[in-house]
């Protein structure tokens, strides 16, 4: 039975950095509150009998958002052998609030005062021996980033765990509250072990509905307790929750003077001066636009352009297939195997891997932005805008991460407190083009629009417009209406991220992209290559021309559905369907289908064949549908996990597909109107547009009633 150690602390206090230092793992660390939304487990590298759990950051044990519930339930249900409470040494007052709650759990606690290097730099000093005496548990000074003090911390924590002696809180509440707590313990909690009673008594006193339900009290007990609470409130002159919260801070104020000597009058820190520019009233929005533009220009246009010429074109397009053909011919490889390798694997995976350089650049920039502390400022400056659409400033973080990958993007939505707002964020996050959709955009803009400068930005604008319109429309419906969510967010100090951390982040995300190319795209390419080259001809199964293949038959069966969008051909429809496995597959599939069918090879020939089969309008309609429709299965899985039930999940998928279909229909059919084409589909498009405008502009029922 391993010794179970749990890491708990405020958001952004450095738990994951400590976790990585303890376990030698490389979990992702950012500089905004709420990076960790799921608990993670590992083993202490100095002693494999110690299991370490990294819990999502919380400000308190009275949870509001799902990740806070994870932390609280883990602590009270799993009861680890010791809790390491990490507190940010530069911000003791607020961090100690959680400490006062953790010490009440009846579990051994060891406090780790983190960021001691920053504390010393600021000229402050912390008397940790004194703090340990006041809190009633061991206190160690550490710097998780520099790796100092960690061995001492673990010695103290493991000693506390093996002693098995629960931390006994030294703080008391006022007489009225203590009186009520004693009565509550007497009335309802005597069946519990002594050291756990206090935590539950305080939660019952605070009328925590979750805990009350868990304890399963009799109606008599509930009534009795309610009497005690009411008496306590009368004496203290406020409601019970506020009394407890205020008294915790009063206690912290009383000990902090003796434990910390801060150097005052230091004036503005470097972080303050940076912030004065980046969130300046006039400069903030232009600077934000400039930063975003620079990130995408440098990675997509500059690095992307270079890699398209040299890697996709010269290396993967010509040199590699040529060399492979020669090598295979030299060993006397069968024709079909050569076809499989060159036209299936190399054409499919090569089309995708050519995009790796620009993605690596993008991941490096995003990693820098996430770790320097700018993310929380983006939420700060954009909150006003997002609130108008039923989202919150915090919704921007999932969306920005979603430009890299939708899966962590959707998971980051957990940090949003308000239920309706969180669901809305989950539904809309994948509208923004993720890195896997980037190859699709780049391919179509290159093949069909001669690399016109406006295509890639327009994809992002379409994504943003879809988010905004969905927000406005859905917020007017009943399930999403209701009050705004509280938006109280900590703005962390800026710090310059280490090059190692940024590169590791880039490497992790880049590697997962490569792994996907290997695990999903290569098998999918092989299946598509096979299915597009074989079929039933004259009653027998065998090699067939592409238009007689089983893939053509399957794609053709649903192709009629997409005919109104201008691309009812089986090839783009098949590509769209394979895009559900992974969006990069769209590129791989198009490469295989147009390559083998028309030009006898992948690369440039396939794209020129592609351009002959699309008009600009139908090409854009195809692009739009694939950007906005349901995401890949991995992201769908994340959506299902973040939604409370299957009904919400299906609604989200239906909304995304419906929105994509409507948008593509309107663009294609209304775009055709000037050419004098009018029919049933055009009428449907106009009707869709009308309905859309009505839903966008109507006044919600609730607002009308309020007037």
């Amino acid at each position: 039975m391993p010794i179970r150690v749990a890491l708990a602390g405020n958001p952004n206090s450095g738990k994951t950095t400590l976790f990585n230092a303890l376990t030698g793992s490389t979990q992702y660390v950012g500089n905004w509150p709420g990076v960790t939304v799921e608990k993670k487990e590992g083993r202490y590298r100095e002693n494999k009998d110690v299991a370490v759990t990294d819990l999502p950051g919380v400000y308190s044990l009275s949870p509001y958002s799902p990740e806070e519930i994870i932390t609280r339930n883990f602590l009270i249900e799993e009861r680890p052998d010791v809790v390491i409470n990490i507190i940010d040494g530069t911000n003791l007052q607020r961090n100690l609030f959680l400490t006062t709650q953790l010490t009440e759990l009846g579990i051994p606690v060891a406090v780790a005062v983190n960021m001691m290097d920053m504390v010393q730099k600021s000229g402050a000093a912390i008397n940790s021996a004194r703090l340990a005496g006041e809190l009633g548990c061991p206190v160690a000074e550490i710097s998780a980033l520099k790796g100092s003090g960690i061995a001492e911390l673990m010695d103290a924590a493991l000693a506390a765990a093996s002693s098995g002696k629960a931390c006994v809180p030294r703080h008391n509440f006022s007489g009225a509250v203590e009186h009520a707590l004693a009565h509550i313990e007497e009335a309802a909690l005597h069946h519990l072990p002594q050291e756990r009673q206090r935590f539950y008594a305080i939660k019952l006193f605070e009328r925590d509905s979750d805990i009350t339900a868990k304890l399963g009290l009799t109606p008599e007990q509930t009534a009795h307790i309610e009497g005690d609470i009411a008496r306590g409130e009368r004496e203290a002159g406020d409601d019970s929750e506020s009394v407890i919260t205020a008294e915790r801070y009063k206690y912290i104020d009383s000990i902090i003077k003796d434990c910390v000597t801060a150097k005052h009058g230091a004036g503005l820190t470097a972080s303050d001066r940076i912030d004065a520019v980046l969130t300046n009233r006039v400069m903030a929005l232009p600077l934000f636009a400039l930063i975003m533009f620079a990130v995408y220009f440098l990675s997509v246009t500059l690095v992307g352009g270079f890699s398209a010429d040299w890697i996709s074109g010269a290396l993967l397009g010509r040199a590699l297939p040529g060399a492979a053909k020669q090598a295979l011919a030299a060993v006397g490889c069968a024709d079909w195997l050569e076809g499989l390798i060159v036209d299936g694997v190399i054409a499919g995976a090569g089309a995708v891997l050519g995009f790796l350089p620009q993605l690596l650049a993008l991941f490096a920039f995003l990693g820098f932005l996430e770790q320097c502390g700018y993310m929380a400022r983006i939420a700060f400056i954009l909150d006003r805008v997002f609130r108008k659409f039923g989202l919150s400033g915090k919704s921007f973080i999932p969306i920005l991460i979603g430009t890299g990958c939708g899966v962590p993007g959707i998971m980051a939505a957990r940090a949003i407190e308000n239920d309706a707002c969180r669901k809305l964020t989950v539904i809309t996050t994948t509208f923004i083009p993720c890195s896997a959709k980037l190859p699709v955009i780049a391919l179509l803009s290159g093949a069909l629009f001669r690399g016109a400068w406006w295509v890639a930005p327009s994809a992002y604008f379409a994504g943003i417009a879809a988010i905004i319109c969905s927000g406005v429309i859905l917020k007017k419906t009943k399930p999403f209406s209701g009050s705004d969510s509280p938006f109280i967010m900590e703005l962390p100090a800026y710090h310059w991220p280490g090059a190692g951390a940024v590169l590791r982040h880039m490497w992790q995300r880049g590697w997962s992209f490569v792994k996907r190319a290997g695990a999903v795209i290569v098998p999918a390419s092989v299946v598509i290559w096979f299915a597009s080259g074989h079929g039933f001809t004259e009653g027998a199964f065998g090699r067939a021309e592409a238009q007689d293949s089983i893939l053509a038959a399957a794609g053709g069966a649903v192709a009629w559905l997409f005919a109104p969008l201008g691309w009812g051909d089986w090839r783009p429809v098949t590509a769209t369907l394979t895009g559900l496995a992974a969006k990069e597959s769209i590129v791989a599939t198009l490469g295989i289908l147009y390559g083998t069918a028309e030009a006898g090879g992948g690369g440039q020939a396939a794209w020129s064949a592609l351009s002959q089969n699309f008009s600009a309008l139908s090409g854009y309609s195809f692009l739009l549908f694939n950007l906005l429709c349901a995401p890949c299965v991995a992201a769908m899985g994340a959506m299902r996990r973040e939604m409370p039930n299957a009904k919400w999940f299906w609604f989200a998928l239906l909304w995304q597909c419906g929105f994509a279909y409507g948008a593509a229909l309107c663009v294609y059919r209304i775009g055709l109107l000037p050419q004098g084409s009018f029919g049933l589909a055009a009428a449907a498009a106009l009707l869709t547009l009308g309905l859309f405008m009505y839903m966008l502009l109507r006044r919600p029922k609730a607002a009308r009633r309020a007037r």
């Binding site: 911000n91 929750e241 929380a376 700060f380």
Partner: protein, 73 residues
């Protein structure tokens, strides 16, 4: 009664009471905005909302509608 919403950037105030009820009030208090504590309003976001408040050694972003339940002097 003056509330935090009306405080101009650069001003320092003391909290008299956190009005309102429910999770919002609780969250505000848990983040350290309790009776008697000193707040410095650092700045207001470019679009006029939310505001950045310095409290107990950390910087918090607060919406004006939420700041309106915090009575100050």
């Amino acid at each position: 009664m003056r509330t935090l919403k009306m405080v101009k950037p650069g001003e320092t105030v003391r909290v008299v009471r956190v009005a309102g009820s429910g999770p919002l009030r609780r969250r505000i208090m848990e983040m350290g905005i309790t009776k008697g504590v000193q707040l410095i309003v650092r700045k207001v976001a470019p679009l006029g909302d939310p505001m950045e408040v310095h409290v107990r050694g950390s910087e918090l972003s607060l919406r004006k509608s939420d700041a309106d339940i915090i009575e100050v002097e």
